[in-house]
Every structure is written in structure tokens, then in C-alpha cells.
Subunit: 286 residues, 2 copies
Amino acid sequence: MSPADVVLDQRRSDQGMGGLAPDAFEPALLTLVADWLEGRDTTDVVICGMAGARQGWQEAPYQAVPCAPVGPSVAVKTRDPRLNVHLLAGLCQNEPADVMRGEETQIAGYMAQNPTVSGVLCLPGTHSKWARITGGKVTGFTTAMTGEVFSLLSKKSVLRFNTADGWDDDAFARAVREGAQRADALLTTLFSLRAGGLLADVPAGASRARLSGLLIGAECASCLRPGDAPVIIGDEKLGALYHSAFNAMGISSALADGDGLTRAGLCAAHRVIASRTGVDSTGVDK
Amino acid sequence: MSPADVVLDQRRSDQGMGGLAPDAFEPALLTLVADWLEGRDTTDVVICGMAGARQGWQEAPYQAVPCAPVGPSVAVKTRDPRLNVHLLAGLCQNEPADVMRGEETQIAGYMAQNPTVSGVLCLPGTHSKWARITGGKVTGFTTAMTGEVFSLLSKKSVLRFNTADGWDDDAFARAVREGAQRADALLTTLFSLRAGGLLADVPAGASRARLSGLLIGAECASCLRPGDAPVIIGDEKLGALYHSAFNAMGISSALADGDGLTRAGLCAAHRVIASRTGVDSTGVDK
């Protein structure tokens, strides 16, 4: 990024906490961007997400809600002196117990662009996050295991025979409404996908869309409150899917680009880190 | 079995539909019980369950509810002329779509021993079945994917880090009540197991029991009706678990032995098959 928060270049890698030991993060970063460091004394690196988990590069704290989404950060000691690496804190909630790492930075990006926002942000994914925002703070949030449950059921359960591939928009919309109305019956409704395949030869595309719709409908029913008009923060495909789910339920929603908001949140965090003066005795930036 | 339905001998094998091609069922049966056939012209073999599925030994029909649980059977052509094999029909329901294979025989066994039963039978398992019985007929039934979802979440999901082993009876009872009261929030409540492990070091035993309790509580909430006093048909361990779940919810229930009822149901079906006179043009016993 330039000092004016303009993107100069970008690189992507699928290497992360799932496959890297703590001492493998720095080499992985250098493999990706070593040429960016040439000719500079130091380069600031601001990192959100699972690199700050207990099994990540180094553990970053959780900040308890209610709080602003940009909180503490930790400075990471690197072997290469040209790197000035900071890991951002995640958010936690004590009751009900909940945690996030990474999504708080997208939330920070959205709030940097929309300082007076009040309402609910929906961040769909493997573990969807729903965050309530008021007065510049995240007041509470909820995680739904929707994406992971969809993946397990469609790939590893008996439903895999009926939900391998394909798609049907109408079946999705109907299932969203059914899932929302009968969220309490999810464990039993799911099996109807198998039985429908056996008894009525329901096509796989319709079954796959119905599985997705039942889960997303149940997620929305348990996370939405009356009057909510969610802002969806996600990648293009998943964002569009949740947008159509809200449409099916007659709920207005808006879409925001997840990648752009991650960058905006990292820039907001970088401004805070740059204003700090050092590191305290526990390794947290102060 | 003797003609008076007394067990003379029993053998078990884990070979079944999951691992056998259609033409491998007869050899697998002979490997298990060939010595039983010696010195007899023919031996009747009555089979319930997934051997009658489309991917099984030979497809047996589904009988649509409402109906008595002992219905049509199909005679299987065998290479060994001493075998007289019959596959029992499963049950199906058109709306909501549902199927069972095998449990109808346990239900038949229970109804043979309790001809005037009226109420709900709960058959816990990978796919739990809840069957409504009135006037000698199964009037409807519901499948809940509780066991399979528990297995996937505790072994394959992010929750596996918190639910690997151990048990805590009190955590189970509390979770059953919570799961029943908040059945509509299952997708979000589940993630609290992960967050509780990260934030409060909840022991794995308590988390594993809580995962089981949340799922069983949600299953019961969606399947129970006011006034139900379920009869639980299952193996010793799972039967006791559901019995304690009903206790936690203040619901009286009774336990029946699944293996004994399978035998009683097979005997009831054998009496019907023995009274039949042949096979119709579609291969169904008549």
C-alpha cells in the first residue's frame, strides 16, 4: 500500500495456520513478497485472522465486546530485521461464549467507511459471523457453523448421494423460507433430502440447493431480529447467495465487498499501530 | 430359531450393504452359517434392513404408512438351493418424505409383544426414527440425523479439538434442556463449544457431553408431542442415553431391548411369510 492507502501490488497464497508451524510463517511470507522489501529499511506488515491464533504465528489476544473493532496488536519478533510485523487482536464475547479472528478487521473497514453505521453485519462463511454495531462499537456477535455443516453434510454424510453437484434457484428460495420457519426441526428436515431422492428422484441440483437453503434459512432465523436490514460482507459468490436468501425471506439487505473491506480495516489498524510508541512487557503494542 | 421361536444359536458379522456387492451377500451369509444348513433340505432366512436397499442384496419395496409394520417381502433367488431367503419391505412416508429399513421390524416385534400399544416409539441411532403407533398400525414417522451429525461434528469439524473423548453427565443433562429450548439456534449454539474451549478451558468431556445433549435435546424438541411417554428401542448404551435425556426434560420413558425386538419382529414376519403360497410376477411373496 502507498502512504495514501492505495494498493500498489497484491499477492495471494493458500498457506496459513492449517498447514504452517509457528516458525514457518516468516519464510512463507518472505517467499511471497521478498522483492517488496528490497531497498527499504523496514516494511510494516499488518496481519489479521488465524495467524494470531494459539496454533498460528504467535498468539494475539482477544478483545472483549463491547468494543471498537480495532484493538490491541502484538509485535512479532522476526529473524529478518526489515520486517515490522503486527498481529491484530480478535474479538471475544463471554456470554454466550464466542470468538472471531479476521472478521473484526472487515468490520473495522466497514465502520471506517460508514462511521455512523448502526445495525447488523452478516459475514457468511465456514463459520458465519453476525455482528451488532452501535455507536462505533461491536456490541455483540454470533457465530453460525453453517458453511462447515453444509460441507460435512454434502461431502461426508449419507446426503452426499443426493447433493453432489448442481443447483436450483427456486429450490433454494423455498428451502430458505422452510428452514427459517422450521429452524427447530433442522435435524429431521435434513433427512427428507435423502428420502426425497429415494422416493421421488429429486434431482441432485435441487437437493443441493435445498440443503444450502435449509441451513441458511435456519441460520438467519436464529440470528435476525425484527427490523434488521443486514449488510452482507463476503466474497462475490457467497455474498450473492445470502442476498438472494434475504430476498426470499422478504428482508432487504445490502452487499459489501469483503476483500476491499479487509484492506480498509488493515489500513485503519495500521494508522492506530503507527501512532503507538512501543511494546509493553507482555509484548502488546502500546 | 426353533419352530417355537426359541434362539438355538446366533452369529454376528459386520459385513453388510456398506461393503458387499449384490452377489457377495450369499457367500457372506454362507461363510457365517454354512454349518446350520447341514442335514436340512431348506432353511428359511428372514432378513430386514439395508440388505433390501437399492445397493443391497436385492431391492425390497417400501410399504407406505399408515400400515402394519410387517408388510410385503421378496423371495431372493439363491445359488445354494438349501437357502430360502426373504427380504422384508421397509416403510415409507410421502409427506414429509421419509424412509426406514430395519427399524420397522423392531417396531413389529414390539407390537407383537404389546398388541394394544398406542403412542410413540423412539429408536435412537445414526438416523433416529420416531414412529407413531395407533390401532396396530404405524401412522407416521420421522427420521432425525442426530447420530450421524454427532459423529461428523465430533470427528471431522472444528469442534473435534474440544470433543474428542470423555463425558460429563451433568453437562449432558443441562445441554439436553438447552438444546430442547433453543432447538432453533442449533447452528449457533454449536460454535459455543469451540469458543468455550478457547475462552474458558471447558474440559473435553464436558464439551463432548454438551454436543451430544444439544443435538439430542433438539431432536426431542422437534419430535415430541405434548403428553408423549416414549418407548425407547435401542442398544443398551444408546437406550440409556436417551432415557437420561428424557429424564432431564422431565418426560417419562420406558426402555426396550433392540436386539430382542429385532428377533421378535423377524419371527412375526416369518409367520406371515410361512402362510404365503408363492411369488407373484414381480417377485413379491404372495
